[in-house]
């Protein structure tokens, strides 16, 4: 399955990805400013199947997964005005909505505290227009970074981000020491950091 996924991704050229993200931003703007249902439905068509796949990973049956997809997409509609293009891609923003929902709804017995990162940024942290443009390139860079991560690190990322497993659960599942899980995560992040050229 993993091989199939990677082949599909490689078929997206860097250029396609930039165009796709620009299209998402445009749709988000129409949803936020004009309450445009057609624009929203296009976002639904792209993101709902991925969200369902994401939601089905942990303890969720198809019915619950669809409830969560619905809830996530309604949050996209409601919070469209809060999306800040300078802070990250639409895909990343929708991922955080899905992640928060999963923490809330599937693991609500002991929720992980979250902060709204943007709430704490100084006004000067907002990137000017040219940085927004640069940000559009970032998605293809993240994609590139992920493509260059060795399989044993990629596996840890999937178990963490998609399967929603804690580091200790991953260590047990793979029968490796906790320290190895952490060092693979550090290596994967280090790789991403080098490609994105961000500060330590």
């Amino acid at each position: 399955m993993l091989v199939a996924v990677m082949t599909t991704v490689e078929q997206h050229s860097k250029h396609d990805k930039v165009i796709l993200e620009a299209e998402f931003r445009n749709l988000m703007k129409r949803v936020a400013q004009n309450r445009d249902r057609a624009a929203f439905e296009k976002l639904f068509t792209h993101f709902a199947p991925r969200l369902k796949s994401f939601m089905m990973r942990k303890n969720a049956n198809a019915e619950l997964a669809e409830d969560l997809v619905q809830e996530a997409m309604i949050a996209v509609w409601n919070k469209a005005g809060l999306y800040e293009p300078g802070k990250g891609s639409v895909t990343t923003w929708i991922f955080t909505i899905a992640r928060n929902l999963r923490i809330d709804r599937i693991r609500r017995e002991a929720p992980m505290p979250l902060v709204e990162l943007g709430d704490y940024d100084e006004a000067s942290d907002d990137p000017p227009g040219d940085e927004v443009l640069a940000r559009k390139q970032e998605d293809s860079l993240v994609s590139k970074a992920l493509g260059g991560i060795p399989e044993e690190q990629r596996q840890i990322l999937l178990l963490s981000f998609v399967e929603d497993m804690a580091q200790s659960e991953i260590a047990t599942r793979l029968n490796i020491p906790l320290g190895t899980v952490k060092s693979r995560m550090r290596l994967a992040y280090g790789h991403l950091r080098r490609i994105l050229e961000i500060q330590p």
Binding site: V5, T8, V9, F40, E41, F44, A48, P49, R50, K52, S53, F54, A62, Q70, M73, I74, W77, N78, K79, A80, G81, G88, S89, T92, I94, F95, T96, R99, R102, I103, E109, A110, P111, M112, P113, L114, D119, Y120, D121, E122, D139, V142, A145, L157, L158, S160, F161, V162, D164, Q167, V181, K182, M185, R186, A188, Y189, G190, L192, I198, Q199
Partner: protein, 217 residues
Amino acid sequence: MTPAHHLDHSTILAYAAGTLDESIGLVVASHLAWCPQCRAAVRAAEALGGELMEQLPDAAVSDGCRARTMAMLDGATLHRFPAPPVADAAVPGPLARLLPVANLDELPWKKKAPGVAIYDVKLSPTAKGQVKLLRIGPGRAVPEHGHGGEEVTLILSGAYRDHMGRFGRGDVADLDEDIEHKPVAEAGGDCICLVAIERPTRFKSFAARLMQPLVGI
């Protein structure tokens, strides 16, 4: 505020993935409220999460799900930007929500020894770890100890020093369990730390070791 000591990158990834226990998550979220550099790191890690989600194989969504979602749009309301929290408040927002009072001085501190007091932060009953506020008097040393589990400490006020350097307000010590250290609070004022420890059984022994020379447990 620009802290000098930051979160471990594996902690940044686990936070972005949403898989931290409530205990460690609380200290991490509190540090993030004060640290622009770690917020940027979390954003990058979240972008990785977005890409991983984007690459998942599609799961067919039923027509019913689409129809129900579209039908709910009319009743939905657009959220506006909420008033931003105070970024440089004495107590970071994620912690403030769990405290009964706004001012740390007014907490019902439990004195464990002269110059040392503890307050237990109340988490969900099913949280795996514990979070404690630790108030250490000026110049006092915490006995050398290892970490029998995951431990993350955020300095809320004052400062301490150990062999890794000086830890002041906003700094975080995100330590592996095999690291031993002997923090000494700086002279001049109390050092108040927010400490999360994920393995409660081991924490008891850590707490015992921590307090033994002070209270003679």
